[in-house]
């Protein structure tokens, strides 16, 4: 199991990039942290999620 934004999900071996695309996020408007470490956008394609990971996807919407 992994935890995404506080909610448990089944673990699948995918990259951050694949995970974000499947979940429907726009890459230009997110920041991703795994176990409290920011994931560099340059490594989305090569970073795999691990079982038990705690993932925070911060999704920015407009207005400020």
């Amino acid at each position: 199991m992994i935890t995404v934004n506080g909610e448990k999900q089944e673990y699948k071996k995918v990259t951050v990039l694949e995970f974000l695309k499947t979940a429907g996020y726009r890459l230009e408007t997110v920041a991703v942290e795994i176990n409290e470490e920011i994931v560099s956008k340059r490594t989305y394609e090569t970073t795999y999620l691990c079982d038990e990971d705690k993932i925070e996807i911060i999704h920015f919407v407009g207005g400020g």
Binding site: E33, I38, G63
Partner: protein, 252 residues
């Protein structure tokens, strides 16, 4: 016993607030005409409280303009003692000076945050006036300069540094290299994500307060402050953006 009165450490004989007030009135070198309010360790009171060594007391004469030296002490009289010293040392940058950033800057100035760094490329135009902290006299001015002017009239005891640039991937690390705290108050989601990613990656010591979903018309009760971790806080409902027909306000 030593207590601080209106920002000055003084040796006093009084053991309680009311007698200290008598001492203050008696020692005053001017006629005190206005009503006096008493603030004891950050809290306004009418009670005759017992004084202890190191207490901080302010007597404010309503309607009287204090001296420049006294004004700063009186302005921060409602801070809990030691809080003012702490915020006065803080350096905070505000990225984007629109509906969020202009308010953040003014409130931090009122709180007495000692060093503010204001960053925005834009100029003040009429449609800003319905929600941003600018005035008609600021139309056409850079937001950085207009806001610096406003802050000087609210709290002249803090330093304000301004940078009138558009923040980009190329200059972001140069622009925000000194602050401990950055408030992200941009409008566009791509710019928000860019600054948060860049600073969290490059600056291990930084704290960011960012906003997502503070605008747009939806229930205000959904708005929250979420601590993602010790370096990142997000304010907003994280969901509803401002968009066409779904702007800042809406008639049902």
């Amino acid at each position: 016993m030593k207590v601080s009165i209106n920002g000055k450490q003084q040796e006093v004989k009084s053991k309680s607030l009311w007698t200290l007030k008598e001492e203050f009135l008696y020692g005053a070198t001017r006629a005190i005409k206005g009503p006096l309010i008493t603030i004891y360790n950050g809290f306004q009171t009418d009670e005759d409280l017992k004084l202890d060594e190191g207490d901080e007391v302010a007597f404010i004469v309503k309607g009287e303009m204090p001296s420049k030296e006294e004004l700063e002490a009186l302005m921060c009289a409602r801070h809990t003692p030691s809080v003012h010293e702490k915020v006065k040392k803080a350096k905070v940058a505000i990225a984007g000076l629109g509906g969020l950033g202009s308010h953040i800057a003014i409130e931090l100035a009122r709180t007495g945050v000692g060093h503010l760094h204001l960053v925005d490329f834009d100029i003040v135009e009429p449609s800003n006036l319905n929600r941003q902290m600018y005035k008609i006299k600021h139309l056409g001015m850079y937001k950085t300069e207009a806001l610096k002017q406003e802050i000087q009239e609210i709290n002249p005891y803090i330093t304000v540094e301004i940078d009138t640039f558009k923040v980009t991937q190329e200059n972001v690390l140069d622009l925000f290299k000194e602050e401990e705290i950055v408030c992200e108050a941009f409008d566009k989601p791509e710019a928000k994500a860019m600054i948060v990613n860049a600073l969290l990656e490059a600056r291990g010591d930084i704290k960011i307060v960012a906003a997502s979903g503070m605008a747009g018309y939806e229930s205000s009760n959904e708005i929250q402050t979420k601590k993602i971790n010790k370096r990142l806080y997000i304010c907003g409902d994280l969901y509803n953006g401002a968009k066409q027909e779904w702007g800042l306000w809406r008639l049902e």
